[in-house]
């Protein structure tokens, strides 16, 4: 159990910059997820923490002391790989006990036949077997101990990989997309299991994924990475509600956040499709901005009401059972938005129905031209102004 501090890590491969000054502190016992599109450098960062790759500059410290000069095995971290990386010619038991064998037994004691004759070797082996069995039992794979990885299903292999990581009680767990080789159903189950494992072990977890749902559901904090940089590190709900950049806003959340082009008026108000929205920003006047609204934030109506901001046509309806997604397009614009509504509400709409959208002003996100979040104030729009443009 330890905190891990990552300071100013940079790395490039053959002239391509993979990581650029990444700094991050992971608290003891925290579940931190590194999330980002493929190729954003998150796996490389994890491999640098593990010691499998070397950073060009920067420092990794585990439990307060630098490990930059230490080999992977000396860092005392466990890693779970996307492919599980189980040793194919060893049984499940041998796979799970190998980390203990390598740590507790000397080179001579490990020798196949001769080693058994050395004093102490037998006792250590029995002790290791007991621990391997305990871990296997805690993950419900004790009945598989004598099998080989090739004879196991994907879910079973994934548990063996977890067991191998758990058995030696490392300083921290590193997980590199451990669920992406599972089918959708298994993945949901495995997500809960890994969360449960984290609660039980109270250990530090650094979890890499490209799947934002995994990031949102499991983490204490989420670190969003893109183009080798950390864009935002915050608790999941905060990342969702208060994204610092447009890229983060777009990456987190399904369906994707709706982004509409807007401009800042002389008085700081935002204008979208010739309509003044009830927010004021402190951005440059007359500058183009992106106005972003989460799909569930829209309030839909069949008739134009007090706060209607957009009027469009339903172009596509997606039924998801618990909710319905309405795709709305606007006359004279290529932009379209998705509204997430209750199925009972959705039944009022057909393809081609007119639809009016309103928004809680506090939940409108505005991003400046360079993608940074602009601070917004809600403002009540005077009715005469609204009429002018209505």
């Amino acid at each position: 159990m330890a905190e891990i501090s990552i300071a100013n890590i940079s790395k490039s491969f053959a002239g391509t910059i993979i990581l650029e000054g990444v700094s991050l502190d992971v608290a003891n016992g925290e579940f931190l997820t590194l999330v980002g599109p493929s190729g954003c450098g998150k796996s490389t960062l994890l491999r640098i923490i593990a010691g499998l790759e070397h950073q060009d500059s920067g420092t990794i410290a585990i439990a307060g002391s630098s490990v930059d000069m230490k080999a992977p095995k000396a860092r005392d971290l466990s890693m779970v790989f996307q492919s599980y990386a189980l040793y194919p010619y060893m049984t499940v038991e041998e796979n799970i006990s190998l980390p203990l064998t390598m740590r507790r037994m000397g080179t001579l004691q490990r020798l196949p036949l001769l080693g058994g004759l050395l004093p102490g070797a037998g006792a250590i082996r029995r002790e290791i077997a007991v621990e391997a069995r305990q871990v296997a039992e805690s993950l419900g794979i004790a009945h598989l101990l004598s099998r080989r990885p090739g004879q196991l299903s994907g879910g079973q292999r994934q548990r063996v990989a977890l067991a191998r990581a758990m058995v030696r009680q490392p300083q921290a767990f590193l997980m590199d997309e451990p669920l992406s080789n599972l089918d959708a159903k298994m993945r949901v189950k495995a997500r809960a299991e890994i969360s449960e494992m984290h609660r039980r072990l109270q250990a530090t977890f650094i979890y890499v994924t490209h799947d934002q749902i995994e990031a949102m559901t499991m983490s204490d904090r989420v670190a969003v990475m893109m183009h080798g940089r950390l864009l935002q590190v915050d608790p999941p709900q905060r990342i969702y509600d208060e994204p610092k950049t447009l890229e983060v806003a777009r990456f987190i959340g399904t369906p994707e956040i709706n982004v509409l082009p807007g401009t800042v008026r002389h008085d700081g108000a935002i204008e979208v499709f010739d309509k003044i929205w009830p927010v004021v920003v402190d951005a440059g006047r007359h500058a183009p901005v992106s106005v972003a609204v989460r799909p569930e934030v829209w309030e839909v109506a069949q008739q134009p009401g007090e706060g209607s901001l957009l009027t469009g046509t339903v172009r596509h309806i997606e039924l998801l059972g618990s909710e319905t997604l309405l795709h709305v397009s606007f006359a004279g614009s290529a932009a379209s938005v998705v509204a997430r509504v209750e199925p009972t509400v959705a039944t009022r709409y057909r393809l081609g129905s007119p639809i009016h959208l309103a928004v809680d002003p506090a939940r409108i996100l505005v991003f400046t031209e360079n993608g940074k979040r602009a601070a917004t104030l809600t403002r009540s729009v005077p009715s005469q102004v609204r009429n002018l443009h209505g």
Binding site: L52, A71, K73, A85, Y89
Partner: protein, 275 residues
């Protein structure tokens, strides 16, 4: 259907001709080894011996020359060479397939270049080197020049390249040293390849005549192939019955070994056994 039967017949005829041509020398070898001198020179050729007296050839072959000794030498030299080749080839192949270091591609180019050089080319310098070290006419003279096989390095490298990198990363996290990775993780994945290479290596060195002929003077150190030739130069002229008996004895272990290992041999060279 008619044409396809004709095609099949044609195919089989060609294959059968090839098979007969390949097997015929061996059949003749066994046949002659079982005949008495009179039968061998008899104007009427028959494949099978007419009397059981031909078995004498085998008794005489073992009595005339220390055949067992030659076979033992063959085993010692071939096993020694193979172990040395594996000892060098596996770590080299691991370094070439899985480690990143400056000069790796150049080294690989040298390995490929080495594949092109026949063993006869460096024979004279190697001979002089062994002479300088005073190692001529010894087991070392037979084993050392073949201890490093570029073909072995190349074949093992091809195998190791198919091993996923994650497996090696996992092994490093689990505390295995690079040496332990070679022997505990990489070697088991390459067993079929190693067996295939072992067969090629053992057959090659068991049958090698050229190098033992120039490196060995003492008859007691002769390898099987060299030992058989002692029957040719025997004072009383060549006795074909005994010569062929010796040749049969020398060939038998290889044939038996191949029959036992042929499944792995084919797996290993086609690499189909991975996964």
């Amino acid at each position: 259907m008619r044409t396809s039967i004709a095609a099949a017949l044609f195919r089989h005829l060609i294959l059968a001709t090839g098979a007969v041509l390949m097997v015929l020398p061996f059949v003749l070898m066994v046949s002659i080894s079982l005949k008495t001198e009179g039968e061998i020179y008899h104007p009427q050729f028959s494949l099978l011996p007419t009397s059981p007296d031909g078995i004498e050839n085998y008794v005489a072959a073992f009595a005339m020359q220390p055949l067992w000794r030659y076979l033992l030498n063959g085993v010692l030299v071939c096993v020694g060479i193979f172990l040395a080749q594996a000892l060098f080839a596996l770590p080299c192949a691991y370094a070439l397939a899985k480690l990143r270091w400056p000069g790796r591609n150049l080294t690989m180019a040298f390995v490929l270049l080495g594949l092109l050089i026949p063993p006869q080319v460096p024979a004279v310098p190697v001979y002089i080197m062994l002479w300088k070290f005073g190692l001529l006419d010894s087991y070392a003279a037979l084993i050392l020049p073949s201890a490093i096989s570029v073909f072995g390095i190349f074949l093992m490298r091809q195998f190791f390249r198919t091993v996923p990198d994650d497996l090696i990363s996992a092994a490093r996290m689990d505390g295995l040293s690079e040496v332990a990775i070679v022997w505990r993780i990489m070697l088991p994945t390459a067993i079929p390849g190693l067996i295939a290479f072992g067969i090629l290596s053992v057959v090659g060195h068991w049958n090698d005549f050229f190098w033992p002929l120039i490196a060995i003077q003492t008859p007691e150190l002769a390898t099987p192939a060299l030992g058989v030739m002692f029957f040719v130069t025997a004072e009383a002229g060549t006795n074909f019955g005994r010569l062929m008996a010796a040749a049969t004895v020398v060939n038998a272990p290889l044939v038996i070994a191949f029959l036992i290992a042929q499944r792995w041999f084919i797996d290993g060279l086609t690499m189909s056994s991975m996964k």
